[in-house]
Each structure stands twice: as C-alpha cells, then as structure tokens.
Amino acid sequence: MKGQMKIQEMAFVLLALILLAVIAFIFFIRLQAGNIERSADLAKQQTAISLLDKIAALPEISCAKGEICIDEDKALMVERAYSSRLENQFQGLKNVKIARIYPAGPDIVLYNTGSANQTYSTFVSLCQQQASDWKCGIALLEAGF
C-alpha cells in the first residue's frame, strides 16, 4: 500500500514535470517562430525596396539613356505581350503594376499572379517619347508580395 502510494506520488510529480517542460517548449517555439517571422518580413521588405529600384531600371521598361523614367510605350508592350517572358525579373513578387496618378488613367499591369498580402511602392515618372522630347506624367510603381 505504501509502495503504491509512492509510485502514484512519483507519477504525479513526473506528469507535472513533463507538463512544465511542454509549456516551456511551446513558449520557446512561439518565441522562435516570432523571430523567424520577423526576419522573414524584414527580408521581404528589404527585397521589395531593392527590387523596386531594380524594376524601374529594367531596360525592357526604362527610358532611353540619361532619362530616369519608365517608358510608357515599352511598359504597355510588356503588359500586352512580354509579361510572361519577363517573369523571372519579378522573382518573389505576386504582382507589379504602374498606377497613373497624373494624368489619371488605367493602370499598366506588368505582372500578375494573384493578390498580394503586402504592397510596396515608389513614385516614378511615366514618360512617352515624342519626336523631339518626352511627355511625362507621375505614377506609382507598385510591387506586391
């Protein structure tokens, strides 16, 4: 009888110990997961910011040498016919579009594989080449993850 009591006592202590260990382990895992999520978000943010600049400089959509802008004619060509061939340049993104601000007009969708969870954007000049100069407007280059 005394021996049985002792075994029961020990079993309860062990159970409490295991429960404590499990709680501590879950707490640790949550902490680790939080850290991983934070660094993943930071990596995504850094990628987005550096990618926006890279996208704006893509020769397939950028203006001629010396003009820091997006060529509207080229961007429309990419939207119409070359988006799939350019998809590797948008690695890691869900969509990329140029939203016209002034003058207002329809968006130019360069790449779209679904709706994004988060979108980063930068102001760009959207220009059209004329015979003697460039006619420019203001737009937002948006990259969605």
Binding site: K54, P59, Q130
Partner: protein, 297 residues
C-alpha cells in the same frame, strides 16, 4: 528487500531521468540545427538583397565595386540552369550540415565556389548595344591581368580591389595569382582580344564585350549557361526595341526607322548564335542610334 536488489523507485527514476535527458539533448540539437539553417537562409537572402544594387546601376559604362565581409567563413557554391533561366546559390556555414539553397532568377552572377569570409563584389553592364543587364562578379581569388588594353587596365586598377590588379609584365604578378594574359602565352587564362575568345587549359569561351570577357575569366563553370541566359534576354529586348522603333517612327522620328533592318538582323543573329554577327549588328544599331535626333535607348 534482498541485498543487491535495486529498489523500484530508483529504477523508475533512472529510466524516466534517462528519457528526459535524451529528449532534452535531442530537441536542443534540433533547435540548434534550425537556428543554424535560419542563419544560412537569412544570409542567402541578404546576399540576394546586397546583389540588387549591383544589378541596377542604370548608368551605362559604369562599374560598381565593393568589398564584402561575410559574418563568418562561408562555403559558397553557385550553379546555373539555362533551361530554368536561373542560378542556385548554396550557403553552408558548418560542415556536415545541409546547405541552404536559394534560386536566383533575376541576376547574372559569375563566381567560383569559395570557402572564405572576405570577398569582392563587382558589377559591369553588358551592353549589346543597349544595357541588357548588369553582370555581377564575386571575386574570391587573386587575379593578375597582364598586358591588357589600356582602357581595361585603367578600369581594373580603378576598382581598387585587393583581389584584382592589372600590370604590364608577368613579373609584376605574385606567384600564386591567377594570371590572365592578353597576347602573351604561359598564363592560366589567355585572352585573344581580336578573336574575342578566353582560353583556359580546360576550354575556350567566346565573348561579346568586356563584361562577358570578365565573366569567362572569373567563372568558367557557369559562363556558357549565363551567356545563353543573357542572349535570351537580349532577344526579348530586341523584340521590344523593334516595336518601339516603329512607334516613335510613326510619331515623327523618321530617322530611327533606319535601325529596324539591323534590329531584325540582330534578332536573326541571336537565333543563329552567330556571335560575330551579333557584335556587328549591335555596332551598326549603336551608330544609327547615336546619329538619330531621338534615341531608341
């Protein structure tokens, strides 16, 4: 209780204690492994982010060069797959562990595998005739360029890299440098600038301009694959340029229309993989573009 007989309580405590210690060691090992894998993943992603400014210089004829000190000695490997139009970077921080691999599709990286902490990253635009993209070179060995043309010598010495120097004679190089020679034999790498080839003991590689020449010097393993990827990209850009020339020509830029036969010729030369014709058409387009009142690129 008989003498020599272990009490049940002790036996029970021993078994459970052993199991707890085993589980603790097992899980801490797993957690450590995850942490190490996380560090490798973070480092690979960071490298990719670091590479982005090197591949979007915007300005033509400008090189960007920076020393990079990795957080620790790193085993870095890179491979290339032209069918998938991508490169795979693998980073391993500790031996006997699984490396973290990351696929890079939007860059052209020329690098030999290395296992060290300090490297040099340098990029240069590939122009044929417009800027197709910026090529990224990761330098981890000492290179000595001998008897190079004056503009290349000036550019290489201007990088101020401890890994690269350009000298007039072979005796200016250190014995363990990789010697890259122009019109001089007896070096590790021989460049025939007129024939546009880079020769090593293993293979001969054709190049199109100075940026691809450096790609062949710094990374013989991935060179052919990266060149194929670059030419495929140039093919896409040529199609866009043909349409663009037609559009601006219709807006009154009549002289730019004269580039169209050469642009079509360039597309044909790209399909035929005729490197000499690609260069020739590119020169012809560049000359017409420079002479035009409104530029195509």
């Amino acid at each position: 209780m008989k003498k020599g007989q272990i009490e049940f309580g002790w036996l029970f405590a021993l078994i459970i204690g052993g199991a707890i210690i085993f589980l603790a060691v097992f899980f801490s090992g797993k957690i450590f492994q995850t942490a190490s894998y996380q560090t490798e993943a973070e480092m690979t992603r960071s490298l990719d982010v670091i590479f982005n400014p090197f591949s979007s210089i915007r300005q033509a004829e400008v090189s960007m060069s920076k020393p990079v000190s990795l957080p620790q000695k790193t085993d870095f490997r890179i491979s290339c797959n032209s069918d998938k139009d991508s490169q795979t970077m693998s980073i391993l921080l500790e031996k006997s562990k699984k490396p973290f691999s990351y696929s890079v599709k939007n860059k052209y990286i020329f690098a030999e595998n290395f296992n060290q902490k300090d490297i040099w990253i340098f990029s240069k635009p590939f122009e044929m005739p417009w800027r197709v993209d910026d090529l990224i070179y990761i330098i981890s060995k000492d290179y000595c360029f001998v008897n190079s043309p004056e503009d290349i010598k000036k550019e290489l010495n201007g990088l101020n890299s401890s890994f690269i120097k350009a000298v007039d004679e072979i005796r200016g190089c250190k014995s363990d440098d990789i010697k890259v020679c122009f019109a001089i034999t007896g070096c590790d790498v021989y460049i025939d600038y007129m024939q546009k080839t880079v020769k090593t003991s293993r293979k001969t590689m054709p190049f199109l301009d100075d940026s691809t020449m450096l790609g062949a010097v710094f990374d013989q393993s991935n060179y052919d694959c990266n060149l194929k990827r670059l030419l495929s990209r140039l093919d896409l850009q040529t199609a866009i340029m043909i349409e663009k020339a037609n559009i601006i020509s219709s807006r009154g830029c009549y002289d730019i229309g004269s580039t169209n036969p050469d642009l079509i010729g360039l597309k044909g030369a790209l399909s035929a993989k005729n490197y000499h014709e690609i260069i020739s058409y590119a020169e012809s387009i560049d000359s017409a573009n420079r002479g035009s009142s409104c530029r195509l690129y």
